[in-house]
């Protein structure tokens, strides 16, 4: 078994009485693209800054590469950080910014020159070396910040919401570029983000955090497919919820009574966070279908369309089930020959027991 590059054990951080992090245990594997995902104030940035050495934990321990980081200041840790504001030194040129860390290590001039040129080329800023850094655009600043950190060949690169200041188009471009860079250099990336889409598209694994605690650590697919709680499911993508009552469990199956959908038996494995205390059934909108003509499904129920959102490639339907006040959402791909339903129309909704999750 290979040793995780970052290990947190029983990590606590208090600001006065406020617990920014409580009892965080986390292993990050060597070479993976790891994301810390959560709403603002959940402690993800505090966790990142603790790894960098800018915050001292109130309790618990942190190991990087198996070595304890207790008493090791930020400038002696094998980590480098890309700041949210990029923190480009405004009085230095692009090349001077990139060379900053190498000069701090007192490397020979010739080596600094070649490594700076390599790093600038790696982030696609060839020819920008002599540019004054305050004359750069947001995307270019981001690249300088990346080059400045990666040129030091850290064991771990920490990224604090690096894409939040960019516009949508540039953000998407930088997402794929970051992914490409991470594969190219093979360095462990730890990214902090509040954008679930960003986390899903870029990461190998994601830790979802709420209120200073880690709720779930999983791959993007597992996180989306088997969220461990209603809160996680709601934060990652869209999910419909129905009240559920556990009637009995026997062996590997559980008997539940669902709002509107009636009684049914589900395998215990569909209670992804454990069966204890489950009181909701969740289903992703794309797992439901609107049946037309002679189409049939494993299970069907009559619904009324209450709202239609047309997106071109997709249509989002809000439909009402009998005995349920809140509408549920169904997303349908607009394939050829498929008519878009109108508000108030009756329809048949198809669903299957295997797409339901039991959550608390």
């Amino acid at each position: 078994m290979t040793q995780p590059i970052i290990q947190l054990k029983g990590f606590d951080k208090f600001f006065g009485d406020f617990a920014a992090l409580s009892q965080v245990d986390l292993d990050i594997k060597t070479g993976e693209f790891f994301s810390l995902l959560g709403p603002s104030g959940c402690g993800k940035t505090t966790l990142l800054r603790s790894i960098a050495g800018f915050e001292i934990p109130s309790a618990g321990s942190l190991y990087i590469d198996g070595k304890t980081m207790e008493g090791v200041p930020a400038n002696k840790r094998p980590t480098n950080m890309v700041f949210q504001s990029y923190a480009i030194f405004p009085h230095m040129s692009v090349a001077e910014n990139v060379a900053y860390g190498l000069k701090a290590r007192r490397l020979p001039k010739a080596e600094i020159t070649t490594r700076v040129a390599e790093a600038i080329a790696m982030v696609g800023l060839e020819g920008f070396g002599d540019r004054a850094s305050h004359a750069l655009s947001g995307g270019q600043r981001q690249r300088v910040a990346l080059a400045r950190a990666l040129v030091l060949k850290p064991r771990v690169l920490l990224l604090d919401e690096p894409l939040s200041a960019l516009d949508k188009k540039l953000r998407e471009q930088m997402q794929s570029e970051l992914r490409r860079l991470q594969r190219a250099v093979g360095i462990t990336f730890v990214l902090v983000t509040h954008d679930q889409e960003e986390a899903l598209t870029m990461s190998d694994r994601i830790a979802v955090m709420f209120d200073g605690k880690i709720a779930q650590v999983a791959t993007p697919q597992a996180l989306y497919g088997q969220p461990c709680s209603r809160r996680v499911a709601n934060f990652i993508g869209m999910m419909n919820f129905l009240d559920a009552k556990i009637l009995s469990t026997s062996g590997d199956t559980v008997e539940v009574e669902l709002q509107s959908l009636g009684k049914l038996a589900l395998p215990l494995s569909q209670a992804t966070g454990g069966i204890e205390g489950c009181n909701f059934a969740g289903v992703r909108p794309e797992m439901l279908t609107i049946l037309t003509g002679s189409q049939t499904a494993e299970r069907e129920i009559e619904v009324v369309v209450s709202e239609v959102f047309y997106y071109g490639d997709m249509t989002y339907y809000d439909v009402r089930l009998p005995f349920k006040e809140e509408p549920i959402t169904i997303t349908m791909r607009n394939t050829a020959g498929r008519a878009v339903l109108a508000v108030g129309e009756n329809a048949r909704m198809g669903w299957s027991a295997s797409s339901l999750l039991l959550l608390k």
Partner: protein, 270 residues
Amino acid sequence: MLGRGHFFKWYMGIFLVFLYAPAILLPVFAFNDSSVVSFPLKGFTTKWFAVLQTTDSLHVAVRNSLMIAVTTAIFSTLFGVLAARASTRFSFPGRRSIMGFIMLPMVLPEIIIGVSLLVVIIQIGFELSLWSIILGHILICTPFCIAILSSAFMNLDQSLEEASFDLGQTRWNTFWLVILPLVMPGIVASLLIAFTISLDEFIIAFFLAGTEPTLPVYIWGQLRFPQKLPSLMALGTILLVLSISLLLIADYFRRRGVRKTGIENSGGFL
């Protein structure tokens, strides 16, 4: 009918005349060939400047003033840097009230500072000297320096410091390589303000001067002799030209610094 715009034009014109006419009179009479300072002018001469050259007591006063002003500027700016850094970077109990008390000498009448310092220095048994004046000047200049430098330090993004530290640099080098260059325009402005305040400060210098007069104290002493007035006009002319050029030079450097770094304009006058 006269519109609002006309009123403001007149207002501005009169304002500028009141502000600058007295200063313009200085060079006019400095080159006037008459020992009486009054119109009509008598003719052109540079003899008043020659008089200045041969007045040894004036030279001593100028030397004293420069020494005091330079020392004051350096120390007040140094204290200003420390205070501004502490108040913007760290939070500690009573920070606001401490900063308030430090800023107080800015509004305290100088005569009170002068008298109380005189009492204290005599009580302690110190000799009155240039150093007692420097002490008083540092006391009144430091609040101005703190005010200027606080804005310079406030504009500094704290993550720049963290980035430098994160990239492997020590705290000490971070200060020299990142913080200092970025607050330099503020430091230059602070040095200049302190220098200027100290150079023309009269009340404290008068109280604490002992036997060594500063330039303003010397000029005040000379006003008793009407025949010295034209040469004082010449002296005033030189001071006027010097201070304007100093201000222009400082602002040139400040603008250049701002252009180079692209950071927020901090602590300029012009």
